[in-house]
């Protein structure tokens, strides 16, 4: 380090003949730059190894096809055209979009409702409820799917007894029609608390005097919530929509586990990720699976960018 510092470096004064060129950074700035690079290098190495390289490899693989006879050969966009023309794949995509399209708004509404209650302190025992609601976040999704599988079991589950008791006989929570609603309930159970805590923290950061000003202006509570609090926590809500959308698009564990309680509903193309898993891992069609994964990634990025664009537009107004 000290040696490099002593070595005569490039002239400190920029020749005036190159005015358009970027000024050379000072030795001090360069030394600091090196230190900064040292701090981020460990992350960057592993990130490259684990994220970027496999991504590149996936794209590369998706351009090849392995045949039983003839081995692996370059096939251009053949895999992609297979994916794009696969009705099953798109059914899966539409299924998770429907799932997310219902689950996310409903969950966010519930989470915002309770976060507001906790923030205002208008219910008793707020801190206790806050803690209770957060518990599911600590439960692995596999475990919660197993638990809910028991609860919703068509033959023995207590929720079925419940439906029997109120007059719905032969009710099956896990039947083809009700599988998505059931998974929506499970996902709401899993994620509401987490979303609620984040919204609660955001609401807490709304300055007290702004709300007091509204009170002095005789603003009714609902208007304080809808017209003042809600707009002021928009960034947090957007972040949550973002996170939840990415999660919903990758629906995998819940249907896979529930399938063990009610066989036959969840096919191996039921959601895109199930489809990718069974294609690439179970059936060994790596290249096709890779192409599916790339298409799914593009869809997710497109949805995210679209929501960001929406947000940007709103901001300009």
């Amino acid at each position: 380090m000290s040696e490099t510092a002593l070595r005569p470096s490039a002239p400190a004064v920029t020749p005036p003949s190159t005015p358009g060129k970027r000024r050379r950074r000072s030795a001090y700035a360069r030394r600091q730059g090196r230190a900064g690079l040292a701090f981020v290098t460990p992350f960057m190495i592993i990130f490259t190894l684990i994220m970027i390289a496999p991504l590149g490899y996936a794209v590369y693989q998706s351009l090849y096809t392995t045949k039983l006879i003839g081995g692996t050969s370059f096939s251009g966009f053949a895999n992609y055209s297979t994916v794009l023309q696969s009705g099953d794949f798109w059914d899966g995509v539409i299924r998770v979009i429907i799932f997310g399209g219902i689950q996310i708004p409903v969950m966010l509404a519930i989470a915002f409702f309770f976060a507001t209650i906790f923030d205002l302190g208008v219910a008793r025992w707020g801190p206790l409820f806050r803690a209770v609601y957060f518990i599911p976040f600590a439960v692995p999704i596999v475990v919660s799917s197993v638990m809910w599988g028991f609860l919703l079991d068509p033959a023995y589950g207590p929720f079925n007894h419940l439906m029997n008791a109120i007059g719905f006989h032969n009710f099956n929570w896990l039947s083809g029609n009700l599988m998505i609603p059931s998974i929506i309930i499970i996902a709401i159970w899993e994620w509401t608390g987490y979303n609620c805590i984040i919204l609660y923290t955001a609401l807490k950061s709304v300055p007290r005097d702004v709300i007091e000003a509204a009170i002095l202006d005789d603003t009714p509570l609902w208007r304080i919530i809808v017209r003042i609090k809600l707009p002021m926590v928009r960034p947090a809500i957007i972040m949550l929509v973002f996170i939840n959308t990415i999660g919903a698009m990758q629906l995998f564990i819940e249907p896979t586990i529930l399938n063990n309680y009610q066989a036959g509903v969840v096919t191996n193309t039921w959601t895109p990720v199930i489809d990718i898993y069974s294609t690439a891992i179970s059936n060994g069609q790596y290249q096709l699976g890779a192409a599916m994964a790339v298409v799914l990634a593009v869809i997710i990025v497109a949805i995210s960018v679209a929501s960001l664009g929406f947000r940007g537009r709103r901001r300009e107004q």
């Binding site: 702004v210 007091e212 000003a213 002095l216 202006d217 603003t219 009714p220 002021m232 928009r234």
Partner: protein, 391 residues
Amino acid sequence: MSAISMEKLSKVYSSGVSALAGLDLEVRDGEFVVLVGPSGCGKTTTLRMVAGLESITSGTVRLGDLVVNDVSPRQRDVAMVFQNYALYPHLTVAENIGFALINKKVPKPDRERRVRSAAAALGLMDLLGRKPGQLSGGQRQRVAMGRAIVREPSVFLMDEPLSNLDAKLRVRMRSEVLRVHKAIGAATLYVTHDQVEAMTMGDRVAVLHDGELQQYATPRELYDRPANLFVAEFIGSPEMNLYEATVTGDELLLGSQRLSLGPARTLLAPYRGRTVIAGIRPEHLELDGGAGAGHAGMATLVADVRVVEELGDEAHVFFSIDATAAGASMLAAAAGEAEAGLLAGATHNGIARTNSRSAVRRGQRVTFRVDTERIHFFDPDTSMAVPRMPR
């Protein structure tokens, strides 16, 4: 009739902090009252209790004739300008100003008219479409004012509305606030910790210290007849010079110097042979041009000049006399300097405000003339002013 009156108002926070102890204060209709005091003395707390945002531990608050202790802030018809303005960041200036009117279900055309007239009064017409984030500090302050005046409230509360502005703007906004007050005519309780603001703006000024009212009077009265040592020191800049002094017959013994008391003699009769605290405002020390003694009440004081601060139009002469300083700040400064071991010659225990052309230099020995009628006397035990004769 009084617009606001507080009786024995006290506040103890649930964490145990006592912020206000038995405040009695009254604001008349149309009056502009300034609540002033050092940081943490309970000014904001008082304001918030009047607004109804803070519960009242004991005592009463009246608005008009009505005891409002249990009236919701929504029904009190008070408007408040918060220290940080508390604007709605996502709403435009026009929406901010009109927000309260929507709550009152004022019809839209009427609402727009009122918003525009408030905006016009405050010079905000060009900014109606902007959001608070795109405004300067002074503009935000005016929006906060606009939001308050558009409601035409019966009582105005303002919590240090100018403290976030730079010095120049602050001076300009002072007269603007007063102009708005004149136009509206609503009783106003205005909080500041800046005594200059208090003196220049208030019809009456209430000085608060540690949750207790020190004095409530007109600015002139506060200046001429401070009720106690705290007010004496707090009001006026530079601060009043305070010394321990002994009363001996017709004279006042200040260190080794004797000042003939003149008419103040009767006043100090009960203190004969005892120590009092004598306060002399810096502007009441006149450099003696050697013209000889004036009328009977004039006394002279010999001092060594330590530092001269030229301000252009006037000069502050930091001097030392051999009397013992009594003011809290002077004592603190003396202790600090002694600790820091500064040049012994630099220590001073008094300030005089003089004409800038008087060519006094450091190290010089000068004679000040002082009108003994203008010396303030305080009881060293109670800190209260020795009562003055009525004029």
